[in-house]
Amino acid sequence: MPEIRVASVSHSFGDGAARRPVLRDVDVVLTEHRIGIVGANGSGKSTFVRLLNGLIRPDAGTVTVDGRDTVKDGREVRRRVGFCFTDPDAQIVMPTVAEDIAFGLRRRDLSRAEREERTRAALTAYGLDGHADHPAHLLSGGQKQLLALASVLVTEPDLLVLDEPTTLLDLRNAAMVRRVVDGLPQQVVLVTHHLDLLDGFDRVLVFDDGRIVHDAGPAEAVSAYRALAAG
């Protein structure tokens, strides 16, 4: 599995009097297969995962993925780190399902035949083969999130970061996304409020006020988080 190394990272949003620290001197090394991240809204977890593929540059400290700096080697890091957001509508770029999956391959050095083959395989793997030419905006919420996942996974990243992928989904669709995530051979970093998604994970980090306040297996971390939330 890739080694994610976050060293003395701090980050703030806003300027002057409106400056708000969201991460405070975070230090962590992640090498496990499945890593969960939980915490209250505004605790810094989404900012933390956005550091992992260079979407956010830390104000202080460094983030590396397998030794590659997410700021200096951003391009190389983004080729290895796939990112899936909460709202699939915001990450679907092309009008139809198959075209959106193929979009991620446009900038790869692949022939048209290879792109088509990989797109077909992704459509089948994520149960979207009956929707290849359907308008993406007409899919159900769950299908849109599967499309967003397929569009990222078709590029074969070594690490997949998911930022609350089930927040907008009902139970059935959330379970569908969970099954896909469970079957992935890649390293997965999952931010979630659905704590049952973390069953079987190797490690769970609990964020509070910009810091990692618990770092343990899922059972221990989740009970610590529940205690924290209960105040």
Binding site: N53, L55, G74, R75, R78, R79, G82, F83, F85, D87, D89, A90, Q91, I92, V93, M94, P95, T96, E99, A102, F103, G104, R106, R107, D133, P135, A136, H137, S151, V152, T155
Partner: protein
């Protein structure tokens, strides 16, 4: 809400099999021709050819009718104004050429995959590379333009429902402000997603 940019409908007709470049060239040529020749009979012939294209492409009649309906709110007032202030010939010529070109553009998008159109645009914009412009970005702009129409229509529907739920039935400001704010927020998130997918690299 009527859809002003119809999306690709799979098919194996002659029109579907025509190259994207050829279809875009026909659209461009028709645009130039209808700017030069727009007497009622010339526009009538052009419109008949476009409708013939729909028939050859074996597109559903309701797809065509939906587009005609979505054009009516602008075409009818425009025809009336031209008729009053100019003449019926000019009215028919202007409005007829507008309707013909929009329907032809619809025929192109209904029978051509967006990726095929992007490939053509990227090839055609290849010379811009010498000026430091990435042709792939030009193609991406086309794709995002098509996709954004549907996104904004969806947001407009949500804002309208929220407006009705709060009893603000005919308030343009209560409709426009949240729509603009939500569209900008969507653009922000889309930009982040494009960066995450390596488009900026």
């Amino acid at each position: 809400m009527p859809n002003p940019v119809p999306l690709y409908l799979p098919g194996d007709s002659v029109v579907h099999r025509l190259g994207a470049g050829t279809k875009l060239l026909v659209l461009l040529t028709a645009g130039v021709a209808l700017a030069l020749w727009r007497s009622p009979w010339q526009v009538g012939v052009a419109l008949a050819l476009v409708l013939f294209g729909y028939a050859v492409a074996r597109l559903p009649l309701r797809t065509l009718l939906r587009q005609v309906v979505s054009l009516a709110w602008i075409a009818v007032p425009l025809l009336v104004i031209q008729w009053i202030f100019a003449s019926w010939e000019i009215g028919v010529g202007v409005v007829g050429s507008f309707v013909t070109l929009v329907l032809l553009a619809g025929l192109v998008t209904l029978t051509t995959r967006t990726t095929a159109m992007i490939d053509v645009v990227v090839r055609a914009a290849g010379w811009l590379r010498r000026l430091g412009v990435d042709p792939e970005r030009v193609g991406l702009m086309l794709a995002l333009g098509i996709r954004s129409v549907h996104v904004v229509l969806g947001l407009a529907e949500e804002v309208r429902e929220a407006q009705y739920a709060r009893g603000l039935r005919a308030s343009p400001r209560a409709f426009a402000v949240p729509l603009i704010v939500r569209s900008l927020r969507h653009a922000d998130r889309l930009g982040e997603a494009l960066t995450a997918r390596g488009v900026d690299d």
